[in-house]
């Protein structure tokens, strides 16, 4: 019962929050509702016995991602509204119809009864421990690669935002400095 109430509440809230995000004109509203939606999703994770994921969700998204966005927004002039060209009715209907189509498809039960869990969740073991076990055995390599990916992202971010990019060697003449 509790699960049902929680699910519907969370669902309603996330949908609402994300709907605001994609429709609002104000970037600040959008970001706030995005952050809100993400926190609610972490609640959903807890509901699904994925505690570790819930924690990561809160830390990474609300802690890191949203913070990054916030800093970026300070940089951008958020007062300057971007004209959202009105999309045509047909386009809107098409979008809605295809979304409905997608949702309808996904209502079909997908889970198979015969599937045996390859990396089962152990009863009585904390989720973080469980996750850790799998993460550092089976998913060790992806984990490391993810680290490399983050490194790449970091380098990329730094370079792009860095001062060196201001002077363009590609375009200025050879002898100029």
């Amino acid at each position: 019962m509790f699960e049902t109430i929680a699910f519907y509440t969370f669902s309603f809230l996330t949908i609402l929050a994300f709907a605001i995000t994609v429709t609002t004109k104000n970037v600040l509203y959008a970001m706030s509702s995005l952050a809100g939606g993400m926190i609610i999703i972490s609640g959903m994770f807890f509901l699904l016995n994925a505690d570790f994921l819930g924690v990561v969700q809160i830390i990474v998204y609300t802690g890191a991602v949203i913070a990054l966005y916030a800093f970026a927004m300070i940089f951008f002039d958020s007062t300057k509204d971007i004209v959202e060209t009105k999309t045509g009715k047909t386009f809107f209907i098409l979008t809605v119809l295809s979304s409905v189509m997608l949702v309808l498809i996904l209502t079909i039960p997908m889970a198979s009864g015969q599937v045996e869990a390859l990396y089962p969740i152990h009863e009585g073991v904390g989720n973080a421990q469980d996750v850790g076990m799998v993460l550092f055995t089976k998913y060790l390599v992806p984990f490391e690669v993810a680290a490399v990916m983050l490194l790449v992202a970091m380098i990329g971010g730094i370079i792009m935002a860095g001062k060196k990019m201001d002077k363009n060697l590609t375009e200025i003449k050879e002898n100029e400095e």
């Binding site: 098409l94 189509m101 997608l102 498809i105």
Partner: protein, 635 residues
């Protein structure tokens, strides 16, 4: 000298002559070119004569094969030459007339820039003609056949700077080519029927073939003959061919080349003998052409054209004989005709020469005073043509009428009989208008003069033969009977011969008389009332046939060609190819807007494209369900 050598000399000395003259083709006139070539052609004549004597002595035909020409698959044809009685007759005629014409031409062409070139062409023609008659197979005959066509083209178009000459040359060539196609098809059929194109092989097996095939072969070959011998409906080129120098007309368009068709029928007599229905057709066409051409000759004012039409008419006679199976008579008429017609042309050449190439007989008259010899020679020739005893034409032409009568083809006989009268009339109309009566040329400021002596002398042998050739009829029959079947007259005809000769001669003399007397009363022979009749207009305009050809064939062909090029080739065939390219291109141009550069559109393409594919997936998965629903809706 062996016969083989003689044969080679007879055949090749003309080509040597031609090449010799060609060496000087682009340099100014050299008299010795004319002399040497005449000598070489004369040599050919002498060799032919020697061969004739050889055959006369009964030592058998001369047959040589030089080397293989075309060999492919089972087809094999060599350069082979055969000299039998028919061939040697033709050779003699050809080389004799040629020699005369060569000599004559030295004078005739003396002021022409292309003197050397002329002799080269003329000798080449002789070579081709000799090749034609001497070949021992159909394909060799075809070589000569085409060769004479080529030389005829060159010689008609000799004065190429004249527009009409070029046109006439082309017309002659093209018309001949149409007929040659028939001939070629005949050769194909012969090959695929008999497996060879050698005369001896074919003729020895001739009866083995199916009757229908034989008929087709005969038809095809005769189509070839029709073109070369200018039979209706391929006759128009001959009159136009008079654009060439007159010696050419004498040699090619009177004595030799045009008779090649007759020669072909005679040569293939074994074949035609088996297809009497084709023979009858040939005879009928011949009779028709004889009359048809004579009517055109009646009213023409152009001296050469009159003679040309007369040639046409006489060829008709020959075909009647050949078609009715009287091959030796056809050959005999061919021979006599060659002599007197060449003579007639050369005489006309003298007149033209004297008149600065004026051709209109209405501008002449009374010229016997300035060119007596020519007048006499032409008179002789005309008498021979008219078929007056004892001239050569009498013997041969009369025989043809007898043949027609003998075969109970009375319509043919009547046609030829009337034509004989017409022939006499128009030939004497010319003679009268040119040599007698008022000297009209003075009004036009001409100063005619007699031709060189040697030109006259060159004509004399022809004149002599035109007069006496007829008397050798029996020797001739005996000579050629080795090769050609002798036409046996029925008893009935035998009795009638006297009357027939009388009737024929009567109409000829009547014709002459009318011509002579009417000319005395009225210059130009015809009354103005007659001039206005439809009949006259028909004759004068050659039955409007050239015009019809122009309107029905030439112009539509040109128009159609234009349409094919501009409309079909460019607008349809090519445009459709370009169209494909343009469609691709315009598709590119019109859809490159898809790449608008707007990120939002790019994302929409991506998401939309995926959704579309997903839709297909649903349609595919639930196609049964969807079909049921659709059916439900339909109900």
């Amino acid at each position: 000298m062996s016969e083989e050598t003689l044969l080679y000399i007879a055949l090749f000395s003309p080509i040597v002559s031609s090449l010799f003259a060609a060496l000087f083709g682009t340099v100014p006139k050299r008299v010795f070119v004319g002399v040497v070539t005449s000598g070489l052609i004369g040599l050919s004549f002498l060799s032919s004569l020697a061969l004739f004597i050889h055959l006369q002595s009964g030592s058998g035909v001369v047959h040589v094969q030089m080397f293989d020409w075309i060999m492919a698959g089972d087809f094999s044809v060599p350069f082979g030459f055969l000299v039998d009685e028919v061939t040697v007759t033709m050779m003699l005629v050809v080389s004799l007339v040629s020699t005369a014409v060569h000599i004559y031409s030295i004078g005739y062409m003396e002021h022409d820039k292309g003197f050397n070139r002329f002799f080269s062409y003329l000798s080449a023609f002789v070579f081709s003609m000799m090749f034609l008659v001497m070949s021992d197979n159909f394909l060799g005959l075809f070589i000569g056949w085409e060769g004479v066509g080529l030389c005829s083209w060159l010689l008609i178009g000799f004065w190429y700077h004249k527009h009409s000459a070029g046109w006439a040359a082309n017309e002659a060539f093209i018309m001949n080519r149409i007929a040659d196609l028939g001939m070629l098809l005949g050769i194909f059929l012969i090959y695929w029927t008999y497996g060879s194109v050698q005369y001896d092989v074919v003729f020895s097996a001739v009866s083995e073939a199916d009757g229908e095939i034989l008929t087709w072969i005969a038809i095809f070959l005769f189509i070839g003959a029709m073109g070369k011998s200018a039979q209706f409906p391929l006759h128009t080129w001959l009159a136009d061919a008079m654009e060439g120098p007159t010696p050419v007309s004498a040699l090619i368009h009177a004595a030799t080349m045009v008779t090649a068709g007759v020669y072909l029928v005679i040569r293939a007599n074994e074949l035609f003998a088996l297809t009497p229905e084709v023979g009858l057709f040939i005879a009928s066409l011949g009779a028709f052409v004889a009359m048809f051409a004579a009517t055109m000759a009646l009213v023409n004012r152009d001296i050469k054209r009159i003679i040309a039409y007369s040639t046409l008419s006489q060829l008709g006679y020959m075909f009647v004989a050949a078609g009715l199976g009287a091959y030796w008579i056809a050959l005999f008429h061919l021979v006599t005709h060659a002599f007197f017609k060449a003579l007639l042309f050369l005489g006309a050449g003298n007149v033209m020469h004297a008149m600065n190439d004026e051709l209109n007989i209405m501008k002449m008259g009374g010229m016997r005073k300035v060119m007596g010899w020519t007048a006499i020679l032409m008179l002789l020739a005309s008498l021979a043509l008219a078929g007056i005893y004892p001239f050569a034409g009498f013997f041969s032409k009369d025989k043809i009428l007898e043949v027609a009568f003998d075969g109970h083809y009375y319509i043919l006989w009547a046609t030829l009989w009337i034509t004989a009268g017409l022939t006499a009339f128009y030939s004497f109309r010319v003679v009268m208008l040119v040599f007698f009566g008022k000297e009209r040329y003075k009004d036009f400021g001409f100063h005619p003069h007699e031709a060189h002596d040697y030109m006259i002398w060159a004509m004399v042998p022809l004149a002599v033969l035109a007069v006496i050739a007829g008397f050798f009829e029996h020797q001739f029959v005996a000579f050629v009977s080795n090769v050609l079947p002798v036409y046996e007259f029925s008893e009935h005809t035998h009795h009638m011969v006297g009357q027939l000769i009388l009737v024929t001669s009567a109409i000829a003399i009547t014709g002459i008389a009318i011509a002579v007397f009417s000319n005395m009363f009225r210059e130009g022979v015809f009354s103005s009332a007659f001039r206005n009749t439809i009949l006259f207009k028909l004759f004068d305009n050659q039955y409007y046939i050239p015009k019809i050809y122009e309107e029905v064939i030439t112009k539509p062909y040109m128009e159609l060609s234009k349409v094919f090029w501009e409309k079909v080739d460019m607008k349809i065939v090519d445009a459709s190819v370009d169209g494909i390219a343009n469609i691709l291109r315009s598709t590119g141009e019109n859809t490159r807007g898809m790449q608008s550069g707007n990120l939002s559109y790019m994302l929409r393409w991506m998401a939309g494209g995926m959704m579309l594919i997903l839709l297909f997936a649903i349609v595919y998965t639930y196609s049964d369900v969807l079909l049921n629903i659709l059916q439900g809706v339909a109900k």
